[in-house]
Structure formats: C-alpha cells, structure tokens
C-alpha cells in the first residue's frame, strides 16, 4: 500500500507542494501506480494521512482558517509526518511570540515571524543542509527562524540569524521553500525519514 500524502489546502502555495510531492513519490515508487497527493480541505481527511505538507502562505490567515474549519485539534494530534515550510514552520512550532498566530505545538521550538524583515530582504541562499551532500538553493520569502529548540529537535540548517531547518521525529520544518526550488532532495529526505 502506498503512502497517503496530503497538502493542507487552505491558503498559500498549495499547487507547488502537490506537484513537488507527486514528483518525489513518482521517483521513489518502484513501478505500478505512483501514489496520489490529496489536497486537504476538511478536518475529517487529516487522521487518514501518513504525511501532511503545511505550505507557505500567511501564518495569520492560515491560523484563522485552521480554527474556522475545525482543524486545530486534528492537526495538533496528527501522528503522521508533517512537512512544513515558511508559514507552515511558524504553525508547527510551540510558540511564535505573537497572539495573532495560534501554533500547533508539533515541533518543540520557538520561532520568530518575518525574522529577516520585509519582502526587500527576501533572498536566495546556497545552504548546507544536514543529510544532503551538496548545498540546497534555499528560497527565503519573508521567512521565519527558530530561536530556541527542544532537546528532541535536530538542527538541519542554520544561518547567522537563526535556525532555518529542523527535524523532530517524523516532522520536518523549513524556513525556506523547498517546493519552489525545483529540487526534490528535501522531499525525498522527508519520505525516507517516514520509511517510504
């Protein structure tokens, strides 16, 4: 049986995440039908998934839509793996120091929103990521960073401003956007970590 991957489809770059996971899964499947990636629009879909991507977007908007769609509890209790990017990284944290965002507490870390500044400070960087042989083209868009992490959290990448990629158990969170880079190595790393 294939792995069931969903992409939280409330707001943000959902299509890019779906496409990246479809490609990553197609590459990892050995013949036969490659498993499909489902957009997740309803709370009932969440418990059936093995993995869930929480895309980039606006964390305040996503936080409200999670609440209004009754998704807070199913997400906070999700026991599959979460692949979170940018706003997603803010949401999976234990705290963002901002009452406008209610974090899910899936990864033990405190994050700072828009840590690099406004859009003019958005940038691309060649980033060394633990587990990858070659640097990754990291696309930071009004990105957050993690400031403190729990003892069970492994740092995968760091820049002078703070921590920008982490793993805790099945979950991975990135301050940048692997789904925009046209490079699936971090998706593969995530799937391997789930045993796919």
């Amino acid at each position: 049986m294939g792995v069931r991957v969903g992409v939280l489809s409330l707001q943000g770059d959902v299509g890019e995440h779906v496409l990246a996971f479809e490609r990553a899964l197609a590459a990892s499947s050995t013949g036969g039908r490659s498993p499909s990636v489902v957009p997740v629009r309803h709370a009932e879909q969440i418990p059936d998934l093995d993995a869930l991507a929480i895309p980039g977007g606006e964390s305040t908007t996503l936080s409200r839509l999670i609440e209004r769609n009754g998704m807070y509890r199913p997400l906070a209790e999700f026991d599959g793996g979460v692949f979170a990017t940018c706003a997603g990284m803010v949401l999976v944290a234990t705290g963002a120091g901002d009452p406008r965002v209610r974090t899910l507490g899936l990864v033990e870390m405190r994050v700072e929103r828009n840590a690099f500044g406004r859009q003019a400070e958005s940038h691309e960087a060649c980033l060394d990521v633990a587990g990858l042989a070659e640097p990754f083209r990291a696309v930071f868009i009004r990105a957050p960073v993690a400031l403190d992490i729990g003892p069970g959290v492994e740092v995968l990448a760091r820049v002078p401003r703070g921590i920008v990629a982490v793993r805790e158990g099945r979950h991975m969170a990135f301050a940048f956007h692997p789904e925009l880079a046209g490079d699936l190595r971090l998706h593969r790393l995530f799937l391997e970590n789930l045993g796919v």
Binding site: E58, R100, R113, Q119, E124, A125
Partner: protein
C-alpha cells in the same frame, strides 16, 4: 552559508511572494485601524491607500501615491504584507514605495496615469509588482515588463463585478484558445494580441499564466469573490467592498471564508447571512468614458 552568495530581488523571489498570496484576500485599507480589522479577519495582505477607489471617484482631481506617513502607519500596525499603489509609469513613486518597505507595488489604473506611453520597468526593482489587465495580451505585456502578479482590472470603486468577470473570462478564454496551436500559430497569435511570443508559448505549455492571477475591481460580496474564484482566479483583491459596507469586519471575514470555500454553495450561503448592506455600487454603463478607469494603460 557564504554571505556573498545571497541573492535579492530575483524573479523566483518575486513570483514566489505572489504564490504565497494564493487562495487569499487582499484588502484596501486607509489607516492602521482598518488594517488591523483586515488582518484579524484573515486578509493575506493589505493595500495601503489614501482613499478607497469609491472615494477616489467621488473626490476627483489627480489621484497619486498615498502619503508615506499613512503607509508607514499601516506597515507598523500589521504583520501581514503591505502593498501600495503607484501611478502607471511613475517609477519614482515606485522607488519611494520600495524605500518605505512596501512588500509589493501595484502599478494601478486606479490612480491617475503619469505616463501614457510606458509602464514602469519593473525588472529594475527588488520588490515585486502586481499590474492590472483586461485580456491575455495586456497580462503578458505586463509580465514582460516584470510584473510578478496579474489582477483583472475590473472597474474599481463601482461595487459592480461585471467588468472583473469580463476580464477574467477574456484572460482564461485567451489561454484556452492557445490549446492545440502549433508553434507557428502561437507566434502568429502573439503578434495579434501584442504579446511577446515566448510568453504566449509558455502560457500554452502551462495552460495558465506564468504568474499568479488574482481578480480585482468591483468585488463587493462573498458570492462575488467566490464567483471570481470559480472563474479561475487564484485569489481576490477587495477594494471599496469592505470598508464601504455596513459591517466591514463581518464582510471582511465572510469574504475570506467564501474564498476558502468558493465551490461550496451551502457554505457561502451560511457566511453571507445577516451581513447587512453591501456597498451601494454604480452601474458601469452610467459612467462617462473619462470616468472608466480600466482604459488607463494598455
């Protein structure tokens, strides 16, 4: 990470920023209080203005970039991105907006054009631009100049969705009509619609614009917003429709939710109940030609 390898203002960063807005509602605001209401309602960004388009129509005269004081006040009030408008072709207003820290610039026909020949060369800026378009050719001309996001022009400040519908249908229909054409035919079509051939070929290959495509200009209710989403918009701008309605906070929230559930009529029915009156609106056929904003910029 080596510092010298950082790259700012790339095409990927500009288009990526626009992608993060997808499925969202961008709301016009004129002060910090309205900006906070918009953010609380779930807006993905706010557009900082001196006046909403309905008031620009009323006041008349030359409509320019907003007072920087006002823009800074709004930037300081919210954590979501702040956009602001410059006049078509007014690259110095655009430079000023970039210097103020605006996250995206709308080169907008809602303001009085500063140049009747040229739009701003948007490739010279680090921050991304959004531009209005009425059809596929216009959208691709703006993308060719460096726009990272397209929105329908619609007819701003009227509360009448008819022009936004016309423009969205023209853009989507224009793309559908490319299907099945040979390269030679695509190049011929590019000439016909006054767009660069390589962008027409790219559209045909992708089956959509190469950048995010929002709808704007006349959206006044949750159902209007859902209509534009069902017609293929990636998200919506709401100008006068929120703060000219009887219940701005309720209307803002309802439009955010209607965009989120744009293909679920039961849900749209639910959020539309008891919202009070939407903005009054104007029949676009009663506008004199010089009052029609969408004809500005080609």
């Amino acid at each position: 990470m080596k510092l010298e390898e950082l790259r700012f203002g790339t095409e990927l960063l500009k288009r990526g920023f626009a992608s993060m807005q997808k499925g969202g509602v961008i709301m016009d605001v004129v002060n910090a209080e309205q900006a906070r209401i918009a953010e609380e309602a779930g807006a993905v960004a706010v557009m900082a203005l001196e006046r909403v388009p309905a008031d620009i129509r009323k006041v008349g005269g030359v409509a320019r970039m907003a007072d920087p004081e006002r823009i800074v006040e709004i930037i300081d009030a919210v954590s979501i991105p702040v956009m602001a408008k410059c006049r078509i072709g007014h690259f110095v207003e655009a430079q000023v907006l970039e210097a103020l820290g605006v996250d995206m610039i709308d080169e907008s026909e809602v303001l009085t054009p500063a140049d009747e020949q040229f739009h701003v060369d948007k490739t010279l800026f680090k921050v991304p631009f959004v531009c209005g378009a009425r059809d596929l050719g216009e959208a691709l001309r703006r993308i060719d100049e460096g726009a990272a996001m397209i929105r329908t022009k619609g007819e701003a400040g009227t509360g009448n969705v008819v022009e936004a519908v016309r423009h969205m249908r023209a853009i989507m229909g224009g793309i559908r009509a490319l299907k099945g054409l040979s390269t030679q035919e695509l190049i011929d079509r590019a000439r016909e619609i006054g767009a660069p051939a390589e962008l027409v070929v790219e559209c045909a290959r992708l089956g959509r614009l190469p950048v995010v495509n929002f709808s704007a200009g006349g959206i006044a209710t949750p159902a209007d917003a859902a209509l534009m989403m069902q017609l293929g918009a990636d998200g919506v701008f709401v100008g006068s429709g929120i703060f000219k309605s009887a219940n701005p906070a309720g209307m803002a929230r309802a439009i955010v939710e209607a965009v989120n559930h744009y293909d679920e009529p039961q849900f749209i029915a639910g959020v539309s109940r008891g919202l009070g009156e939407a903005m009054k609106g104007i029949d676009v056929h009663t506008l004199r030609e010089e009052e029609v904003l969408q004809y500005r910029g080609r």
